[in-house]
């Protein structure tokens, strides 16, 4: 069966969408100071219907950002603080014996996962069993319990955080689960100027006031529009070559890589590039979009050899090299030709 060609958003729709997304970004800029790039990526990830893993030191505002996002979008958000003794049922929900119509029966009590946005704080503190409970929910957006399948609300996002410096009592996320996160974004500390702004405008224990800037329906329309963004053949080819080049032996940049990115990574790149194209009011994705989202999409999907890590190689470094090595066109330039620098 031939898939139906989605209708391309017209100029007016694109302009309207861009303006809406811009309002969202501005609102989030007011929640989290000095992290505009992070906010742009989070918005792009959400528009691409992806789950996002935020990694950074405590106190950088990760949780605040997620809460702000939920409020600006007018979505139902739940927060779960992951701990080693957290059980899968504590997230997905449990069947509880209740008396219904005069007789006892197990009734499924929904867990906090039944929300539009699930903030999984310090996700790497939960046991692998609990983490794996998220797998089905993240991928298929449904929960199975007691022989019944419960569909999660639409839209559904998992925005997880993890702390990279504490290793005691943590369980690193398995590769399969990492692959299900569209982005893994590193949250960096703020500069002195930004810290001064925070000191002047924030109080401990007082959450910033955030008004919803997008109605749920409006947001859902944006999600649908992001899927209708055109992906040019040349850009799709670029994505395919980029993902292929992450595998050992496929490029010079992949030296020291044990496992490259999966086809899901290519889909993630395409979705994120489309979302970014929509963010900028374009009806198509571009090479620039792919390059802008390549680092958060690919870095956590590239597994390095132990020796390469000892030599100081990082997945982010591998992606940087890939971006420099893989040209936009399918064939490299002849050796005596170079791309001129256009000012």
């Amino acid at each position: 069966m031939t898939p139906s060609t989605p209708t391309l958003p017209n100029d007016a729709e694109l302009a309207s969408a861009s303006a809406s997304i811009n309002r969202l970004v501005i609102a989030l800029d007011g929640v989290l100071y000095g992290q505009h790039e992070l906010i742009e990526l989070v918005v792009a990830g959400v528009l691409a219907r992806g789950h996002i893993l935020l990694e950074g030191l405590p106190g950088l505002g990760k949780t605040e950002l997620v809460k702000g996002l939920a409020r600006t979008l007018g979505l139902d958000a739940r927060r779960v603080q992951f701990t080693p003794d957290l059980l899968p049922g504590d997230i997905t929900g449990n069947p509880i014996l209740q008396e219904v119509d005069g007789r006892r029966a197990f009734v499924f009590q929904r867990g906090p996962i039944f929300a539009n946005i699930l903030l999984a704080d310090e996700i790497n503190r939960a046991s692998p069993k609990t983490q794996s409970a998220l797998l089905e929910a993240m991928q298929e957006r449904r929960v199975s319990a007691g022989g019944e399948t419960h569909t999660l609300p639409d839209p559904f996002f998992v925005l997880a955080t993890q702390n990279p410096i504490e290793l005691e009592g943590t369980y690193p996320l398995p590769e399969a689960q990492l692959d299900r996160f569209l982005f893994k974004i590193e949250v960096r500390r703020n500069s002195a100027e930004v810290l001064q702004r925070i000191v002047l405008n924030r109080e401990i224990g007082v959450e910033p006031r955030v008004e919803p800037v997008l109605a749920r329906e409006e947001f859902t329309a944006l999600l649908g529009m992001a899927r209708r963004i055109h992906m040019p053949d040349t850009v799709a080819n670029y994505i395919a070559r980029m993902v292929t080049a992450t595998h050992p032996g496929e490029s010079a940049a992949s030296a020291g890589v044990r496992y490259g990115a999966s086809p899901r990574a290519a889909l993630a790149l395409a979705s994120a590039a489309k979302a970014r194209g929509l963010r900028h009011g374009r009806g198509h994705a571009s090479f620039e979009d792919v390059q802008a989202v390549a680092r958060p999409v690919l870095a956590h999907r590239v597994l390095l050899e132990h020796s390469a890590r000892l030599d100081g190689a990082t997945p982010a470094g591998v992606v940087e090299k890939l971006l420099a090595e893989i040209p936009a066109q399918a064939k490299p330039l002849p050796t005596s030709l170079a791309a001129a620098k256009i000012k």
């Binding site: 055109h230 040019p232 053949d233 080819n237 090479f287 979009d289 100081g312 005596s336 791309a339």
Partner: protein
């Protein structure tokens, strides 16, 4: 034409331009080594042509043109795998111009064509060093085929004049061939030797050995002619005397005595002997005529017959002398005759090795190899002494000393121990430390920092 159409046409032209330039350079990168190979080959061919002195210029140019055509086709076949397609050129152009894939989207009908950009023709920068390097090298190799000097032995040999002695000998023999009284076979023998000398390569005509051989041949020819002339004169004189005696005796009705006839026959026999031997001999007819004239035949010989034979012999002698007289064309006597006369008179030989030669310059050099020398000086070895050891080279013998080893037979003390354990080894630690290379240890330290 609308703005959209103008933009579309502009960008399609720009895409084609990028594609054309990239593909041309890709082809040229493969064609340039081919040009170098063709240029080198042509240079070698032209150089070889100059060496062997064969004019095949037309064929070489034809082969060169053919080789260029082959190289061009081969370069195209190899390079076409790297040729930009239309999509490649478009992707490259839109990425370089940072126009967010606007060309691809527009070509797919998903967006408007972007505004024209003045930079569309400046997205490529050619570094011609590689290609030009090949081409310059090809020109140099090609030009070297014309400019490299050909070794001297391959230069065209300019005909040189024969050595004078050889030329003169040939001239004599040529003139002698006109004289019927001289045996052609004896002339041919000398001529063959002259031809042998003349057939030597031009560059060796004036070598020492060739000049010596030419001189020797001329000397032999001169002596032979002198001897022949003398014997002709001797025979003529005898017969003339016989004819005069006959005439004078006929007036008195007397005849020659047997003693006189025997003496005349002896004189003629001696002359015949001289005319039959040597490098030049009298003709067969003349020798046979003289051979018949023994004492009894002389008795029957009339005065007229004797006078006629004497005249024949005299003309032959004069003819030979005339040939020899061509040597100097003047009043001076022939040098060959002079030499022969001096040698015959027991005078001092004028051709002495090392003292110069009256005919040509100083003659032999004072230094020459002597085949009779038995001591070549092989046993007189000489060495260079080098007291400055800092300047000694590998292989120099610095000194030899004759002596004996002083070995103490009582010096042996039996087995001795070597080494001792200073402390107990800590195996685990040692293994851990030794298993890691310094680079790994450093990396591990960094990892755990």
């Amino acid at each position: 034409m609308t703005d959209a159409q103008t933009s579309r046409a502009y960008w399609l032209r720009a895409i084609s331009g990028v594609r054309r330039r990239v593909n041309a350079v890709a082809w040229m990168e493969w064609f340039a080594p081919g040009v170098f190979a063709c240029g080198t080959l042509a240079g070698l061919l032209f150089y070889a042509m100059r060496r062997v002195r064969v004019d095949a210029t037309g064929w070489i140019w034809l082969a060169l043109a053919f080789a260029f055509a082959i190289a061009a086709v081969m370069a195209w076949r190899i390079a076409r795998g790297a040729f930009f397609s239309r999509d490649d050129a478009r992707a490259f152009l839109e990425y370089q111009l940072r126009i967010n894939s606007g060309l691809s989207a527009a070509e797919a009908g998903m967006a408007k064509w972007p505004r024209t950009s003045v930079f569309s023709s400046r997205v490529l920068r050619w570094k011609p060093q590689v290609v030009l390097g090949w081409l310059v090298a090809a020109v140099v190799m090609f030009a070297a085929g014309f400019w490299l000097p050909v070794p001297a032995q391959n230069m065209r040999v300019v005909p040189v004049e024969k050595p004078p002695a050889l030329a003169q000998t040939e001239e004599w023999l040529k003139d002698l061939a006109q004289v019927n009284a001289v045996d052609p076979q004896s002339i041919e023998n000398l001529e063959s030797r002259a031809r042998e000398l003349a057939s030597k390569p031009a560059e060796t005509q004036y070598s020492h050995s060739s000049l010596e051989a030419a001189d020797a041949l001329r000397e032999q020819a001169a002596q032979a002619m002198q001897s022949l002339s003398r014997e002709f004169e001797s025979a003529e004189s005898t017969l003339s005397s016989l004819a005069s005696a006959r005439n004078s005796l006929s007036e008195t009705n007397e005849s020659l005595s047997g003693e006189q006839l025997k003496h005349a026959a002896g004189q003629l026999d001696k002359a015949l002997h001289g005319l039959s031997e040597g490098n030049l001999t009298a003709s067969q007819e003349l020798r046979e005529a003289l051979q018949k004239l023994d004492a009894s035949a002389l008795r029957e010989l009339t005065a007229e017959e004797a006078a006629r034979l004497a005249q024949q012999l005299g003309e032959a002698g004069r003819a030979v002398r005339l040939v020899m007289g061509n040597e100097n064309n003047g009043d001076s006597e022939s040098m060959a005759v002079l030499l022969a006369a001096l040698d015959g008179a027991g005078g001092t030989p004028m051709r002495m090795r090392g003292t110069g030669d009256v005919l040509r310059g100083r003659g032999d050099a004072p230094l020459e190899f002597d085949r009779r020398e038995s001591d070549a000086g092989g046993g007189n070895l000489q060495t260079v002494r080098n007291d400055d050891y800092s300047r000694a080279a590998l292989g120099d013998k610095l000194g030899v000393q004759v002596g004996e080893h002083t070995v103490d037979p009582n010096a042996a003390q039996g087995p001795v121990s070597a080494g001792a354990m200073a402390g107990a080894a800590r195996g685990g630690e040692a293994v851990w430390v030794n298993k890691l290379t310094p680079a790994e240890r450093e990396a591990l330290k960094e990892f755990y920092k």
